[in-house]
């Protein structure tokens, strides 16, 4: 299961080039790791020395890494197995709440975080199966809606269970079963404080390392370790038999089933493994912030993770991690900085001079999702494979981001996918404009459908007509 690793791609391409690639990658990886380890220590001197640059604080990096873990988890569901999940935040919430229930004064249970972490992971994975099992048969867009609804339900349930009374109707005696006004989840107030992870230092000092937002640097190393574990597992999964089964399902579920892949268990594994990393991130976030609130687990978080994946390159582990750091850096550091230094003041003046209160109160950070939304649309139209697509994965998936379930009208896809593959195999930068992008031909023409836009593929597509 683990020995096969990259054999197939390597044999296709020049092995020497492959070695060079590999060495180069190792060097880059080493540099990144060293930078990541050193950065919190040099952050202060760095920002003092070059104050003109908006350096991300270590706390921002912690958030970036948390989202990188989330994105890697969702990438299993979305990138590998091709299932669009818009309610991924639910598992994040479940992980965080599990931690809060088992390591806080809320129920008076104080289990060590190092154990709770795994319970949270298991809880998220179980819920992943619970959501996945009944929804496996649904096609892509219905699945998106079901997961979206599930995400909202989880958030609302955690919020509403802060004040719950369940009583039999008066006819049946009116006995109170739960409550009155039982507080199961903390409701809007959330659960606070949660015990952070602690490593006691043996010896006479009686000190210990506490990984909470009071000790950002230590927490950074912890989350970095979690991210490294996640990344490693995802990488091994991608190259495993299971990973190839996921990709086969993503490409063509019927064909995959015909090849002997058990699509039900394979998809369920995608859901549960994807969810379990979310539980990982949730357990960390809850303990790191030492507090959780239901409202932080909103639909927007799910979408943010989806945007990270689309931006970084769906299916590409490296791309997803870069995407998470880039997007969260923009969100938490760059936009506030741009707002404070460049945009807010003139908008404020404009608002005051025109009497528009909303402009006078303008804060750039309020509109972060406006920018993300535009990014999403542009990425889909211009560069659906993301900014850092994974070369080997792309060769397999023919270039386009979500090849997804090619249900229904998928006739023209293969042709344009093949075209895209040649356009953007290795080089992320200049090419998409050079060739007519796949979307350039069909739209404006009258659509004389017999000879529909790109050359019709051999005979692909569940052809109902033509």
């Amino acid at each position: 299961m683990t020995e096969v690793v990259q054999a197939p791609h390597r044999s296709i391409r020049n092995p020497l080039a492959g070695m060079d690639d590999r060495r180069r990658q190792m060097v880059i990886l080493a540099i990144v790791v060293v930078l990541a380890l050193v950065y919190p220590l040099i952050y202060r001197p760095l920002s003092n020395a070059i104050p003109a640059v908006p350096w991300p604080g270590t706390a921002v990096l912690v958030v970036c890494a948390t989202f990188a873990i989330l994105a890697l988890g969702l990438n299993i569901v979305m990138g590998f197995a091709g299932l669009l999940d818009l309610g991924y935040v639910a598992f994040y919430a479940i992980g965080a709440y599990t931690t809060a229930f088992l390591a806080s004064s809320h129920f008076g249970v104080h289990i060590s975080w190092w154990i709770v972490l795994w319970i949270a992971v298991a809880a998220a994975a179980i819920f992943g199966v619970m959501l996945g099992a009944p929804t496996l048969k649904l096609r892509g867009d219905y699945l998106a809606i079901v997961t979206l609804g599930f995400g909202e339900i989880v958030r609302l349930v955690f919020r509403n269970l802060g004040d719950i009374t369940i009583a039999l109707p008066a006819i049946l005696g009116g006995a109170v079963l739960v409550g009155p006004n039982a507080n199961l989840t903390g409701g809007n107030v959330g659960i606070n404080p949660i015990d952070p992870p602690i490593i006691p230092i043996p010896g006479p000092w009686g000190a210990s390392i506490v990984f909470s937002n009071q000790n950002v640097i230590a927490s950074w190393y912890l989350v970095l370790a979690l991210l490294a574990i996640t990344f490693f597992i995802c990488r091994r999964l991608r190259d495993s038999k299971l990973g190839r089964a996921w990709m086969a399902i993503r490409e063509d579920e019927t064909a995959a089933a015909a090849m002997g892949i058990n699509t039900v268990t394979t998809k369920l594994l995608a859901f549960s493994l994807g969810a379990s990393f979310s539980g990982f991130a949730g357990a960390f976030t809850g303990a790191y912030n030492t507090a959780i609130f239901a409202e932080t687990f909103s639909y927007n978080v799910s979408i943010l993770v989806v945007i990270i994946i689309i931006l970084g390159g769906i299916g590409s582990l490296r791309g997803v991690v870069i995407g998470a750091f880039a997007l969260l850096y923009v969100d938490r550091t760059l936009l506030p900085w741009l707002g404070d230094n460049i945009v807010n003041a003139p908008m404020h003046d404009l608002g005051v001079s025109t009497g528009q209160q909303i402009l006078a109160d303008f804060k750039l950070t309020t509109y972060n999702y406006l920018i993300f939304g535009i990014v999403l649309v542009i990425m889909m139209i211009r560069r659906p494979e993301g900014l850092f697509p994974d070369a080997s994965a792309k060769a397999e998936m023919h270039g386009v981001g979500i090849a997804a379930e090619v249900t229904g009208a998928g006739d023209v896809e293969l042709a344009e996918l093949a075209e895209l593959e040649t356009v953007t195999l290795d080089d992320p930068e200049p090419l998409p404009e050079a060739e007519p992008p796949p979307d350039a031909e069909p739209p404006m023409s009258e659509l004389p459908p017999g000879s529909a836009s790109p050359p019709p593929p051999s005979s692909a597509g569940p052809g109902t007509q033509a």
Binding site: N160, T366, V375, M380, P443, M444, L447, P449, Q465
Partner: protein, 308 residues
């Protein structure tokens, strides 16, 4: 009993509004097989435009909010608001969906999610971060009473019905009996073949988005007046309700969307009254999930079986 009837009345009123939005989802899905995530945000912009229209009427022109003249002017503004939301919806199709028409299925869906956020933030820019109270244009006089003397329904509900029912009937007539309606049905059935038959597919799709947007605008006006407020997050709230309605009725099915809207409206009103308002969304979403899992073709699915 009276409580039940009252809740039913509220449910029907809300349900008709939900149906107006749901039809937008259903029309677009029928023709493109795309869940237009941005649709509900177009509706939200409709509530925002209504807010500005009433502001102009009451603040700008100095007409007292409760006067008949203010109400008449607001209703005159209705076609303009519908025109505005219709063109917004059609431009979204033109710029965000049409380039992706032959892309993998989920690409336009993700593009739609992006557009939804763009519109939501435009709403945020227009309305600010909190709910905005709309001038009390709708008279709240109760006209029909229960035998016990308690109010049953009032002028406001009658006006809501007076706006929504003709629109729903008009749309039905349009799709069933006009040439353009026929073109829409043909395109929904088989896009390529209808192109071969000489139907301008792009124009028909644009028309569909125009109609969907116009209905969303009308729903926006009704909601802004009836609820007396507007909010940039109305899109998400009403969007899921109406999408549930569309799915319940069998997506792609106009009658189904209307009935689904009524059903969702009634369920929501019952839950508001007899359970607790904070659980209403949970109940509606669960309904959505259950329907999708057990009967993805909708509750009245005969004509639609091959699509869903």
């Amino acid at each position: 009993m009276e409580e039940l009837v009252k809740a039913l009345t509220i449910g029907v009123t809300n349900g008709l509004v939900i149906a107006l939005i749901a039809i937008g989802y259903t029309l677009v899905y029928g023709i493109l097989e795309l869940i237009n995530f941005a649709h509900a945000d177009v509706f939200m912009l409709g509530t925002a435009f209504t807010y500005f229209a009433t502001e102009i009427i009451v603040r700008g022109m100095g007409i007292p909010a409760s006067s008949t003249l203010a109400l008449a002017l607001t209703l005159i503004a209705l076609p303009f608001i519908m025109l505005l939301t219709a063109s917004i919806n059609a431009s979204i199709e033109r710029f965000a969906y049409r380039p992706l028409r032959n892309a993998p299925r989920l690409a336009p869906l993700i593009s739609a999610i992006g557009m939804s956020f763009v519109l939501q933030n435009i709403g945020l820019l227009l309305l600010g971060p909190s709910q905005k109270a709309v001038e009390p244009i709708l008279p709240r006089t109760d006209v029909v009473f229960f035998p016990s003397g308690a109010a049953w329904f009032g002028v406001d509900e009658m006006i809501v019905l007076g706006v929504t029912i003709p629109l729903l009937l008009g749309l039905r007539w349009f799709v069933a009996s006009t040439r353009q309606g026929k073109a829409m049905r043909a395109t929904a059935q088989d896009r390529e073949a209808s192109g071969l038959m000489g139907i301008d597919v792009n124009r028909t799709i644009s028309l569909t988005f125009l109609i969907a947007g116009a209905l969303a605008g009308a729903a926006g006006l009704v909601v802004a007046l009836y609820y007396g407020q507007t909010f940039f997050q109305y899109g998400l709230q009403f969007g899921l309700l109406s999408f549930t309605a569309a799915v319940l009725g069998g997506i792609g099915n106009l009658t189904g969307a209307t009935l689904g809207g009524l059903f969702v409206g009634i369920v929501a009103a019952m839950s508001d009254r007899f359970i607790e308002a904070k659980w209403t969304s949970v109940i509606v979403f669960s309904l959505l999930i259950l329907v999708l899992i057990f009967r993805p073709t909708g509750l009245l699915a005969e004509q639609q079986s091959e699509r869903a």
